[in-house]
């Protein structure tokens, strides 16, 4: 299968060339996105075949490129295949969406050349089989996505986001360079196959794990390396945002699994602890940010941070179980993480597509300017609602299925012998639960304020439905959310070869269980049958509807809403008044902000009340800050700035002083030689 992926990547690069040449013509859009759709489809098929048919992993393919010692090695195993499915499914959906959405792009020539390159780079990272390859495509992925982020470069915000993004991405790559440097040893055994077989001291593996966590975390958005993510993801055009959030973060997770589970063997128990804690904190902080944010796409970006945190909790658990030899439990945790990664791609892409549709339809992204879109964007509301439900982990959708598996894995953790883990796991469990609850609130807020209620601006009132391609992409992914949610057993079975390869164990096969139940460990521990739950809900809901309509009233009467008796609110001429008396998104989050965010985020609500008798309006200003900024990045930036200011004086010295430097250097070195030996 590897050659097929390579061919697909090659085709993508060719499409990038077309994009550069035809970027200014409408044909360019159709060729690039249509072509990308076809290419992603082919790659998806190849990966599914590999995974579904259980094709034995082939030896890697070496191309005479890259470093001449080893060439460029590519190999596709089951882990790659899982992430290839995620990547190419997301890519196919994004391409389909972009066939329609791309029409609205003011400067398509800034997107079309880079879009296929971005896709190709992600695919190649997943099948890379040596460190050089891996990093070159990893960084190419960053570079291409940076170029895509910069598509809307006229905005100051975007440019800043681009700078922060590329810098953080490069920092991450640098850290991964260190990790691979350690893995490869001083003689430069860069091929993964060589790294696997190498004997190394335990602490080296530990450092590699920490480096990988930092390097990958800067791409996946682990707190506190997340600061670029909520700026860069929303700044890009929406199909790119979807890819970055839904797919690129998964590539980062792939990298973590590849390095830590595959290359840096054997795991120590504290690896799991470190990953668990980082993951748990990331999950909660990410979603808290999302709850307070007003910008539709920024909320989604923060929510990505949360989901990445959840996935890392799964990975951390898997590591802990693995280090203690509980391979089946490790397989369950890893399955949960992989399943959630897949799910997150599905619903986050849908949500970004929807956000893009909203942005195009209204020109607005702020929740405070939206509202009532359910009446005007009838079709695209439905997939949005499904995706919002899925990401809020409501049964019987897919988000719940994977979080349920994760919780089942946590329930197995008392058997872990280390005290540190015993204390950390329940705490992380609480964090996961907190994150899930916040996520529900967050997506109620997002959907409720964007799609429900009354329009909060003229643009929102004049919104229109999005095009057919966009709708098709959204509906397709949302349908998959439902399918994966109702029939998770199939997904779990598809993931079994991966855990088998990495851990030597897998979750018991779900095939052939009656009623398509999911039984992760054993029937006496827990089981979940989303299909039945789905049927129950559907049947009981329909029964209730039937019964009520049969025996009760069928009439619907329309009337003005209850405005505490104030008729002005329901007056048609006073729509603005009515829409401005609605609850605001910031007000909705206020209780949670006050309870949870006043310390960590320094959230403040400043109310200015005019004195009695004054006619001036009262005002409320709420503010919050990201602790990562004020604790780490702002001091870092100011320090560099201060040093730069101070050192910069050296540009304005006299020749005599410059000579004095030379003189001093000479004298010091001479003294050093005199003292040497």
């Amino acid at each position: 299968m590897t050659p097929i992926i390579l061919l697909c990547a090659l085709a993508s690069f060719a499409l990038g060339g077309f994009g550069a040449i035809l970027g200014r013509t409408p044909a360019g859009r159709i060729i690039v996105y249509g072509g990308s759709l076809a290419v992603a489809g082919a790659a998806l098929l190849a990966a599914l075949v590999q995974l579904g048919l259980g094709v034995a992993p082939e030896p890697s393919v070496a191309l005479p490129l890259g470093l001449p010692l080893i060439g460029m090695n590519f190999g596709m195993n089951d882990l790659s295949a899982v992430f290839l499915v995620i990547t190419n499914l997301g890519a196919a959906a994004a391409s389909l969406y972009a066939l329609g959405y791309g029409r609205h792009e003011p400067e398509p020539w800034r997107i079309l050349p880079f879009y296929p390159v971005f896709l190709a780079a992600m695919n190649l990272v997943l099948i890379a089989a040596d460190a050089y390859d891996f990093l070159i495509f990893w960084e190419l992925m960053s570079l291409a996505s940076w170029a895509l982020v910069m598509a809307h470069h006229e905005q100051e915000e975007t440019r800043r986001a681009g700078i922060i993004y590329l810098l953080m991405a490069s920092a991450g790559t640098l850290v991964l360079l260190f990790a691979f440097g350690l893995l490869a040893g001083p003689h430069g055994h860069y091929a993964f196959a060589a790294m696997r077989g190498m004997q190394r001291a335990g602490w080296i593996g530990g450092i590699v794990m920490l480096l990988a966590l930092a390097g990958v975390g800067s791409k996946a958005g682990l707190v506190p390396l997340h600061v670029w993510l909520p700026r860069a993801h929303p700044a890009a055009p929406s199909h790119i945002s979807a890819l970055m959030s839904g797919v690129m973060t998964k590539v980062a997770i792939y990298a973590f699994i590849r390095i830590v589970f595959d290359l840096a063997e054997p795991a120590a128990w504290w690896w799991g602890l470190a990953v668990l804690i980082v993951g748990g904190i990331t999950a909660v902080l990410g979603v808290l940010y999302a709850l307070m944010e007003d910008d539709l796409k920024t909320i989604l970006a923060y929510s990505t941070i949360e989901n990445v945190g959840l996935i890392f909790v799964g990975l951390g658990l898997a590591l802990a179980f693995k280090a203690d030899g509980m391979m089946v439990a490790a397989a369950l945790a890893l399955t949960a993480a992989l399943f959630h990664a897949f799910n997150h791609m599905l619903f986050k892409s849908t949500l970004f597509f929807g956000a893009g549709a909203v942005q195009h339809a209204t020109g607005e992204r702020a929740l405070t300017k939206l509202g009532g879109l359910i009446h005007r964007m009838k079709m695209s509301t439905v997939p949005m609602l499904i995706a919002a439900m899925a990401i809020a982990a409501l049964p019987p959708l897919n988000g719940f299925a994977s979080e349920w598996l994760l919780l089942q894995a946590i329930l197995l953790s008392p058997a872990l012998p280390q005290f540190g883990l015993k204390l950390a796991v329940p705490a992380v469990g609480a964090l996961v639960a907190l994150a899930a609850a916040f996520a529900a609130a967050c997506f109620v807020r997002l959907f409720g304020f964007a799609y429900l209620g009354k329009p909060r601006s003229a643009q929102a009132a004049a919104a229109h439905e999005t095009d057919a391609f966009s709708r098709a992409a959204m509906i397709g992914l949302a349908a998959l959310c439902v399918v994966a949610g109702v029939l998770p057993g199939f997904v779990i079975d598809l993931l079994a070869p991966v855990t088998q390869a990495l851990l030597g164990a897998h979750v018991p096969s779900q095939r052939g269980l009656s009623w398509l139940t999911v039984i992760p460990v054993s029937a006496s521990r827990s089981s979940y049958d989303p299909l039945l739950i789905f049927i129950f809900i559907a049947v009981s809901g329909s029964l209730a509807a039937l019964a009520l309509h049969r025996f009760g009233s069928r009439v619907i009467r329309r009337a003005a809403f209850w405005g505490c008796g104030y008729q002005g609110l329901s007056d048609a001429s006073a729509r603005d008044v009515a829409s401005s008396t609605q609850y605001s998104p910031s007000g909705f989050a206020q209780p949670i902000r006050q309870v949870f965010a006043s310390v960590v985020f320094r959230a403040r609500d400043d109310v200015v009340m005019p004195a009695p008798g004054q006619l001036g309006p009262a005002s409320l200003a709420s503010s919050w800050t990201d602790p990562a900024w004020w604790a780490i990045y702002t001091p870092l930036v100011t320090t560099v700035g201060r040093i730069a200011d101070r050192v910069n004086r050296l540009q304005f010295l006299t020749i005599r002083r410059y000579l004095a430097f030379v003189f001093l250097a000479l004298v010091i070195l001479l003294a050093w030689t005199a003292l040497w030996g």
Partner: protein
């Protein structure tokens, strides 16, 4: 044993909870009134209200969307399914394995999700205020609930309610500090989730204090009936839950004889009545909290439940 009898038992359980829920709510109301030296409504008043509501025309706000109209059905359906998954008179019913305790929590979460969305749909200040407060309460209550689930599931070795009830019934659990903590936490969560004192007042329509009522303010007719019924189911669910975990006396096992089932049914009735009495007494004795004190209240539940779980992780006997 063929398929027919278990299926019948399962359907009976579903019907039972549906039928008993309004009675339980009515019983609490009557009891409370008596405790407050009021005459109070008749025991069956809730049934009458529901019947009346179903025949009335549903009045829907002009700006309401389709979501507003389907939400009551979804709220009702998910709550009913959740309530049916909790063992009442017997364990290991035909479909009891289709969801564990976590699923039940999540199903209630779904109901809440739609409740909040429906509240936001009209675009009134009341809907917003209700949804906003509900979101805050839920953000504490849900994790607390999950921690309780952890505690119980770790003690019983399973997160399946039937298995938990069987385990508890067998007496193998003994007296445990973590379970006691879990019980206290569960009671607090139940009060919060069912919109009872001191978190919310199920009877109020005073704007500043409403939480749940603010969300359903725009509902009328059959929609309101469904939501009221769902509320009643939720109360029943929580009392059943507490009963099946902490007081699984008399509960019938899988394939038990009809006498055992009858005994289970009686025991269930007694447990519900006891729960209702406790609730009414508690609600009469205590005053409602200010909204911003509630987080401390539910937060205490979260802390207790977390402590319970931690104890289990650290020691096998606590």
């Amino acid at each position: 044993m063929g398929l027919i009898a278990p299926l019948f038992l399962q359907l009976a359980q579903m019907a039972l909870v549906l039928a008993a829920a309004p009675l339980l709510t009515g019983f609490v109301r009557t009891l409370k009134a008596r405790l407050q030296r009021r005459a109070g409504p008749p025991l069956l008043q809730v049934y009458r209200d529901l019947a009346k509501l179903t025949v009335k025309d549903a009045i829907v706000a002009t700006d309401a969307s389709w979501l507003f109209r389907i939400a009551p059905y979804l709220i009702f359906a998910t709550t009913w399914v959740a309530a049916s998954l909790v063992p009442s008179f017997g364990t290991n019913l035909l479909f009891s394995w289709s969801g564990d305790l976590i699923v039940i929590v999540a199903l209630l979460g779904s109901a809440r999700f739609f409740q909040m969305l429906a509240a936001l749909d009209i675009g009134t200040a009341f809907g917003g205020i209700g949804a906003s407060r509900e979101a805050m309460f839920a953000s504490l209550a849900e994790p607390a609930m999950l921690m309780i689930v952890f505690t119980v599931a770790l003690v019983a070795g399973s997160s399946q309610l039937s298995d938990i009830a069987t385990f508890m019934h067998s007496g193998a659990a003994g007296l445990r500090l973590s379970l006691a903590l879990g019980l206290v936490a569960l009671v607090i969560v139940a009060l919060a989730e069912t919109g009872r004192f001191p978190v919310d007042n199920p009877a109020t329509h005073l704007e500043l204090t409403m939480v749940h009522e603010a969300m359903v303010l725009e509902y009328s007719g059959r929609h309101l009936a469904l939501i009221e019924l769902a509320n009643a189911l939720k109360l029943l669910l929580y009392i059943s839950l507490i009963a099946s975990i902490f007081a699984p006396f008399g509960i019938a096992a899988l394939g038990a004889a009809p006498e055992a089932l009858a005994l289970g049914l009686v025991a269930y009735g007694v447990k519900l009545a006891f729960g209702a009495i406790m609730l009414a007494g508690f609600e009469t004795a205590i005053a409602k909290m200010r909204v911003f004190r509630v987080p401390n209240f539910i937060g205490a539940a979260l802390m207790l439940a977390l402590l319970g779980t931690l104890l289990l992780f650290v020691s096998a006997t606590l």
